[in-house]
């Protein structure tokens, strides 16, 4: 099977003052067009690193990423990123933030008027059409994240990469944002990789959940196919047996992983590693 996005046995190590730090080892993942995949794992295991390699912001030490059979060598608007900290330009208005991306991507192919319309269209999609002239400092965290998503969507990316997009939001806002995202996803059917540490979010939004083992040398521990019909409704699903089963699977995986570093450190003879793990405390 020729996949749309192929994460092909990637590994990466960083040079640190304490020596080489192997963060990822042999991650492989095939993603189909229009698929929504979540990455979940303990903090510091290397989720952002995977996403940054797909985005082209980092180069893998071993292996590589293929998008439509072309190797990813640098960042580009076909792999738009929504960062955890919105990362809007604070000196530009909401409109200008999105317009900057639109001008950059469609400057040659769309007329001025079309670019204006496309900017407004994408901001309407995330329900931000009322705040076009505000600056990031004048809107709430949830609104900023919406604008960040609008900016990414406006690039018409082949893959949308989201790094804990709702992680910094309060739970009520998060719920709204998840519903918004599902609604947009139902319309546009983008290919999405989203990092999350929220189990409900992962199950609710994803077609597949990729669970990563703890670092260092983190890899794919388990992949869960979420076969729930769309459109999904969080209230209806709360009582759904299948939903709760998926949820339990993820929780179980994370819980087991959570214990593992402690077992290693309390019983050094059990593990084969004799050297101290530089990251054991990080998990």
């Amino acid at each position: 099977m020729q996949s749309f996005l192929n994460i092909d046995h990637i590994g990466i190590s960083f040079d640190t003052p304490k020596g080489k730090l192997e963060v990822l080892d042999d991650i492989k993942l095939d993603i189909a067009e229009g698929e929504f995949v979540s990455l979940i794992g303990h903090s510091g295991c290397g989720k952002s690193t995977v996403l940054n390699i797909v985005a082209g912001l980092l180069r893998a030490t071993t292996g590589g990423v293929l998008l439509e059979e072309r190797e990813v060598t640098e960042p580009g608007p076909d792999r738009a990123v929504v960062f955890q900290q919105h990362s809007l330009l604070p000196w530009l208005t909401v409109y200008d933030n999105v317009r900057l991306a639109v001008d950059q991507v469609f400057g040659k192919t769309k007329s001025r008027k079309e670019r204006d319309e496309w900017t407004r269209h994408n901001l309407t999609l995330v329900h931000m059409e009322h705040a076009l002239e505000r600056r990031p400092g004048e809107i709430s965290g949830g609104m900023k994240q919406r604008v960040g998503i609008a900016r990414a969507l406006a690039m018409e990316p082949k893959v949308l990469l989201m790094d804990e997009p709702f992680g910094a939001l309060d739970s009520l806002t998060r719920t709204h944002m998840q519903d918004s995202l599902m609604e947009i996803q139902a319309r546009l059917n983008n290919t999405v990789i989203m990092i999350t540490h929220d189990v409900d979010e992962a199950v609710l939004l994803s077609d597949r959940i990729v669970m990563m083992t703890n670092g260092p040398a983190a890899t794919v521990g388990q992949i869960l196919n979420v076969d729930l019909l769309r459109p999904r409704n969080r209230l209806a699903l709360a009582e759904d047996a299948a939903y709760n089963h998926y949820r339990a699977e993820v929780v179980k995986f994370l819980h087991e992983r959570h214990d593992k570093p402690r077992l290693v450190s309390s019983n050094p003879d059990a593990g084969r590693e004799t050297q101290p793990l530089p990251l054991a405390a990080n998990g």
């Binding site: 912001l57 990362s87 604070p90």
Partner: protein
Amino acid sequence: MAATDLTDKTFELPWLARALDWLAGDDVNRVAGGLTNALLLPLLGIGIFLLLWSAGAAQVQTSLGQLPGPAQVWEQGQNLWEEHQAARERERAFHERLDKRLQKAIAAGDPEEKLERIRNRQYTGHPTFVDQIWTSLVTVGTGFLLASIIAIPIGIVCGMSAGFYAGMNPLIQVFKPVSPLAWLPLVTIIVSALYVTDDPAVSKSFITSAITVTLCCLWPTIINTTVGVATVDTDLMNVSRVLRLGWLKQTIKIILPSAMPMIFTGLRLSLGIGWMVLIAAEMLAQNPGLGKFVWDEFQNGSSDSLARIMVAVLVIGFIGFLLDRAMLMLQRRVSWDKDAILR
């Protein structure tokens, strides 16, 4: 608020700052509330200072007579103003006479070359205190502008390229602490060697003073611009990379705006240093500004000299303060971050 909070704010004049805030377009209500709040204590402070000054001055006998108190200084301040007015009046009268003579000569049918001689006659009065303030402002403005034009691009390149910064850093560190008094002789000689024209548009002493100011106020702007550019949020740089912004667009759209607050911090520091340096430079270079005024009064040694120097000291301080406020106002105008009130 029992303990004294010693910040750089402590030594400013809050009520004046409020008035200037208002000029800068701040909320009027907030300003009005602050005005009543912050008016009494500063006035009290100034009052106590004046009392101590006049009491202390009465005890000090110098070679030029008694040390002047606030009253004498005030009087000299008025004198200087009146001298300025009188000089202006003389200048006006001179031009009037000249005009009349010209008309008469034209009526008498004098040859063109004689008319030209009358037209070319210049008024040759001594510069007054107010003229000297103006000269100083122009000189410091020139030096500061020149420094900014050089320092900001260097800072940007330093911030973007670690290699370039590594190369520049030793030079910055070594030249930064050099006193203007050490630069001045060098600058004087170099300017004399290079600036040779028969009809100089500006005087050598002006160029020497301005360049000395430039040499001293390059460094804070270079350093702060470097830091501002080097510490642009990595997320924002990643946005730029994802969008594949070109080098120039990245600089204009991302790096410069985000470094702007730091650049302005550097510019404000530079202007402050420039103003201090200028007075010393003018003294030695004999540029007809405030520094020369102080020097001339010192050499003059008349009974009024001390009071006149004190007037100059107060004016120098006050103008320095105004310059800083002007930079702050400018910074607020161009700053995207209205919350970060950088005092």
